[in-house]
């Protein structure tokens, strides 16, 4: 059974075009990426500050979570 872990993240940090949120696995000693780690069910909850529809936020492998109206 997978452990349940939590960590803190910044509050009220505006991110614009080409800013990146990266799910990483780092070596605890060196900080270098560790090979062979797989991420699934990566989920982001964001405030859309800019104009436009939610569809405009789809990027890379990330898609909108279908809502009740989908």
């Amino acid at each position: 059974m997978a452990q349940k872990l939590t960590a803190s993240m910044p509050i009220d940090m505006d991110l614009e075009f080409n800013y990146t949120l990266e799910f990483a696995a780092l070596d605890p000693a060196t900080g270098d990426p560790v090979d062979g780690v797989v991420v699934s069910d990566a989920y982001l909850l964001v405030d859309q500050v800019s104009d436009g529809s939610a569809d405009d936020l789809v990027s890379g492998p990330f898609m909108l979570v279908p809502g009740p109206a989908a």
């Binding site: 997978a2 452990q3 349940k4 872990l5 939590t6 960590a7 803190s8 993240m9 910044p10 509050i11 009220d12 940090m13 505006d14 991110l15 614009e16 075009f17 080409n18 800013y19 990146t20 949120l21 990266e22 799910f23 990483a24 696995a25 780092l26 070596d27 605890p28 990426p33 560790v34 090979d35 062979g36 780690v37 797989v38 991420v39 699934s40 069910d41 990566a42 989920y43 982001l44 909850l45 964001v46 405030d47 859309q48 500050v49 800019s50 436009g52 939610a54 405009d56 936020l57 789809v58 990027s59 890379g60 492998p61 990330f62 898609m63 909108l64 979570v65 809502g67």
Partner: protein, 273 residues
């Protein structure tokens, strides 16, 4: 502002990136991901990294503890998230000890009164068998208390000390084996936090301890806990017997062991209350 939820549909090798698309601006509120380390090359720390367009790291948000290679975790990030790391116990360095034994029997004679006597360790030897892992905390017998050579292990540093002792030969009814401390028996300084003895005779019984240790009439045990501040030093710890009227005791092989548990600050000087 509107909340928008985004999910990566497939499993991806780390790092998995979400790049804010053109003409958009967002404020992240929370993130989650399941990390599968079954194929990990080593231990790893799940970390959410926020990068500027030039690749500079604006924020790195690791979990508190690394995961071992092969481990998996469901990780959640949110403002003011995170579980406080358990504070490891404060240690004061290695435990220092000293031990001493004597293989020869010692006849302790009782007279017409109840007798309380120190048990010597070197009646027939220049020194008994003695060992310690720190010469600045303990010393060989007789150095400071020449009037009682060989009666105990000298203690040179303040601290809280646990003393254990044993004597192997059978004792008579009512015989007690106790630990002793010179500064305590002298009626000043030093404070016995706990003193005690497994004592007297336990006739006809053999009590199983942990399966390997047996207490019976031929193996009396004693223990004591002593608080020794600067004013109590130097001091020594050893073994004492209490003999009823008319009894002698050949204590046989006997030993005393003392370990420094820590600074005197770990216990109040007058006990635990």
């Amino acid at each position: 502002m509107a909340d928008v939820a985004l999910v990566a549909g497939a499993s991806e090798a780390t790092p998995l990136d979400y790049v804010v698309p053109g003409a958009q601006e967002i404020i992240p509120k929370a993130a989650t991901a399941s990390y599968d380390g079954s194929g990990a090359a080593g231990s790893f720390v799940p970390t959410l990294i926020i990068r500027a367009p030039n690749g500079a790291i604006l924020a790195a948000c690791p979990v508190a503890d690394p995961l071992a290679a092969g481990a998996s975790a469901d990780v959640s990030w949110f403002p003011r998230g995170g579980v406080a790391k358990t504070t490891p116990p404060v240690t004061t360095g290695p435990l220092y000890f000293a031990g001493m034994n004597s293989t020869g029997g010692v006849i302790v004679s009782a007279g017409d009164y109840i007798t309380i006597q120190q048990i010597p360790f070197n009646p027939d030897e220049v020194y008994p068998n003695y060992a310690s892992n720190d010469g600045s905390t303990f010393d060989t017998p007789g150095t400071y208390y020449s009037r009682n050579p060989g009666l105990g292990i000298n203690i040179l540093q303040p601290g809280v000390y646990l003393v254990l002792g044993s004597a192997s030969e059978a004792a008579g009814p009512g015989v007690q084996l106790r630990t002793s401390c010179s500064s305590v028996s002298g009626g000043n300084n030093g404070d016995p936090l706990l003193t005690g003895y497994d004592g007297g005779l336990m006739p006809g019984t053999a009590i199983a301890g942990d399966g390997s240790t047996w207490f019976d009439t031929s193996n009396l045990q004693a223990k004591g806990l002593y608080y020794l501040d600067e004013s109590a030093l130097p001091s020594w710890v050893g073994l004492t017997t209490v003999l009823p009227i008319g009894l002698n005791w050949d204590v046989g092989d006997h030993a005393v062991f003392v370990v420094r548990l820590g600074d005197i600050g770990i216990f109040p000087p007058n006990g635990f209350d």
